[in-house]
């Protein structure tokens, strides 16, 4: 099922975003491409540490690194974020279940024999 794939994908995206440094990196990239040195600038982190964060973002498909030698700029790929913006859909089953119960309850109420519900 694609649902399972989507779930796995969401897990990756969520895990990648579950870190303030990585979110800051994404915000920076939203303004335009940047290389590792530029991305590291605002942080009190070593280059290897920043590189590690970028790798996590790459794995989640949020960042693409150009293969242009040396400079290797990072660019943002916001595609996985689109899945998250529709994440509210996960609440659909909650409401579906509620309405299923409402439906059953309505039937129960309207059975003349066994309800204490006044028929007004």
């Amino acid at each position: 099922m694609t649902a399972t794939l989507d779930e796995a994908r969401l897990d990756d995206t969520f895990a990648a975003l579950a870190n303030p440094t990585r979110r800051a990196i994404l915000r920076r990239l939203a303004a335009g491409e940047a290389n590792v040195n530029e991305l590291a600038e605002p942080f009190d982190l070593t280059l290897p540490a920043i590189s590690k964060h970028i790798k996590v973002l790459e794995r989640a498909g949020l960042v693409v690194r150009s293969q242009r030698a040396q400079y290797r700029p990072c660019t943002l790929d916001a595609t996985p974020l689109a899945a998250i913006s529709t994440w509210a859909e996960q609440y659909r089953p909650v409401w579906e279940a509620r309405f299923h119960r409402m439906d059953e309850y309505l039937h129960q109420l309207q059975q003349p024999r066994k309800t204490g519900e006044p028929d007004d």
């Binding site: 969520f14 579950a18 943002l76 916001a78 309405f99 409402m102 059953e104 309505l106």
Partner: protein, 166 residues
């Protein structure tokens, strides 16, 4: 209709119910009926105070048993539109048992979490049955952890979209 909004951060559900509209209306507006169907499986609704008139307030308690004991969550809100047997609009946010709205920070949510969501229920008679359309706009606040994340991401997505469209 704001279709983009509905597609992005709202849940819309349409149902045909085998009941007259006035009974369906009471499902939403009378505590004992509301409590009978609203809570998730395994949860109860020990409190449902509903002052169903425009500007009137509501306070609903959801109680569930967890491995860590009984967990109670409170939701408050205000009725915004009340047209009997037609349309009900109310807001919802997390609160304490006195209906004091809890800020996102107090709930351990990231900054930028909207404290408020809105539920709209439209019902209409169709040959003695009832067509019901429910729209829950915003991110429901009934899952603190997940909701917190969702909002952080929604904010980030929104930010990124604005940056990209410049």
């Amino acid at each position: 209709m704001t279709e983009n909004r509905a597609a992005n951060d709202a849940v819309m559900i349409e149902r045909m119910l085998d009941a007259p509209v006035d009974l369906v209306w009471r499902m939403w507006t009378e505590p004992e009926h509301f409590a009978a169907w609203y809570g998730p499986d395994g949860a109860t609704i020990p409190v449902a105070n509903m002052d169903v008139r425009v500007g009137g307030s509501r306070l609903v308690c959801m109680e569930m048993q967890t491995p860590n004991g009984t967990m109670r969550m409170w939701f408050t809100g205000e009725y915004r539109e009340v047209v009997a047997n037609e349309r009900l609009v109310y807001t919802e946010c997390m609160s304490d048992e006195n209906g004091n709205v809890l800020s996102p920070a107090e709930m351990g949510m990231p900054e930028g979490h909207p404290a408020l969501t809105e539920v709209t229920v439209d019902i209409a008679n169709v040959d003695g049955r009832t067509k019901m359309v429910m729209t829950h706009t915003g991110i429901p606040a009934d899952s603190p952890g997940a909701t917190g994340w969702t909002m952080a991401f929604t904010k980030l997505v929104a930010y990124i979209e604005t940056q990209r469209s410049r």
